[in-house]
Amino acid sequence: MIATTASGFVDELAQRHLDAAYSLGRWLLGNDQDAADAVHDAYLRAARSADTYAGGNARAWWLAIVRNCCLARLAGRSKERRNVELDATPGNVHPLLPQSEANEVEERIDAAQRRERMTRSLRDLPIEFRETLILREIEELSYREIADVLAVPIGTVMSRLARGRAMLQKALADAPATHVAKESSHGL
């Protein structure tokens, strides 16, 4: 029995934070189809349990449901399959690059390589560090909100952030720098 007001609340919440939900799902699951399915699962689940929402941060409540649906999907995959399913190359990179003049070609290659390296390094982090970093740095959630989404103590959020950042910094530093022909500037 879904109260119209409750489902209206979830509708609005899901619409407003749909990109955040999808992006989180995409980073956790590694491909478009699973991410979309997980967000759809989350939406149904949120609509059905809207009356259990006990106040507090609504975005964190919604993202927590999204995350749980993602983890349920992840758990359903075998280990081998998980490795295969994660995309080998970031598919969305090239359309995002400016289609422009020849003197920008090298910068574009450089940017594409930086993206590729960042995506790969982040993707290779253990999931608990990856999700914490994404919630903090990309979705810009506070420690308290992250703790609510992950259902862990704030101390855990802090230690995962510290460890995740250190691991990512190391991974980026160690990543084989694919060389560009000339030494081009790193700023875009």
Binding site: W27, A36, R48, L168
Partner: protein, 261 residues
């Protein structure tokens, strides 16, 4: 402010989690300390790199349409006040147990079908074991594997009592070589469960006190990456040990637990 304190506060300052007074003290230290400035620059570079180079994926239009369709369908169902039809009810037996957990947030078979969606074809049996391993590893990764530190069962049990419906039986086995370290609350699926933490030499032992539905979905023992799960009983409550001890020590510890009443 000394450098050690500043190092601890640095991420909090960077993430705007410090109050104003402490921020100012931190900034005063920052003016004088090149090391801390360098660390801060490092964090900032990482953040900028993430925001520029790690794509924030946009939800595809197809997904928006799918949600709109579902919203319309749910509204129609709510209007006719009908029960949600049970589609795709091809649920393997173990998942029937999962339903009782799922019922916490909804009624109706479609929810079970959700968990059994075409992509996530794994069993809920793996899920419990995975949750246990994950909790254990997470606890190892955290600064402290426990939320309440104590070798005294008279501290640990009341701590649980305030946070969870059924506080577990707590006993210290320091004399037998398995001192009680403390306790924490962790998640198995969406259920909050008490975890007792013991130590044996260098090994940490988590004892998860499980609901009987979860316990039923757990194999007697499982291994992963050198860690093992052993289904045990804590007095009359079903429980699971997660640890990297070898089998002989696990058996010894298991026998201690079984004697608890």
């Amino acid at each position: 402010m000394d450098c050690k304190t500043a190092h601890e506060l640095l991420p909090l300052y960077f993430d705007s989690e410090l109050d104003r007074t402490t921020s100012r003290e931190f900034e005063a230290h920052l003016d004088a300390c090149a090391d801390c400035r360098e660390l801060l620059v490092g964090l900032d570079e990482l953040r900028r790199g993430l925001r520029e180079d790690a794509p924030r994926y946009r939800a595809p239009t197809a997904l928006r349409e799918r949600l709109a369709d579902s919203a319309a369908a749910m509204a129609a169902v709510a209007e006719s006040n009908a029960v949600v039809p049970t589609r795709r009810y091809r649920t393997p037996l173990p998942l029937r147990f999962a339903a009782s957990v799922a019922l916490a947030f909804a009624a109706g078979g479609t929810v079970v079908a959700l968990w059994n969606s075409p992509h996530g074809s794994g069993t809920s049996r793996d899920q419990v074991a995975s949750d246990l391993f994950a909790s254990h590893w997470r606890a190892l990764a955290a600064t402290s594997p426990v939320d309440v530190v104590s070798s005294d069962r008279h501290t640990v049990k009341p701590w649980f009592a305030g946070k969870i419906a059924d506080a577990p039986v707590v006993r210290d086995f320091a004399d037998q070589g398995f001192p009680l370290v403390g306790g924490r609350i962790d998640y198995v699926g969406s259920a909050r469960v008490p975890v007792l933490v013991y130590r044996h030499g260098q090994h940490l032992i988590d004892v998860f006190v499980l609901a009987s539905t979860d316990a039923a979905r757990l194999d007697a023992s499982a291994m992963r990456n050198g860690y093992r799960i052993e289904a045990v009983r804590l007095g009359d409550q079903p429980a699971a040990i997660v640890t990297d001890m070898d089998a002989g020590e696990v058996t010894k510890f298991d026998q201690l637990l079984q004697q608890m009443k």
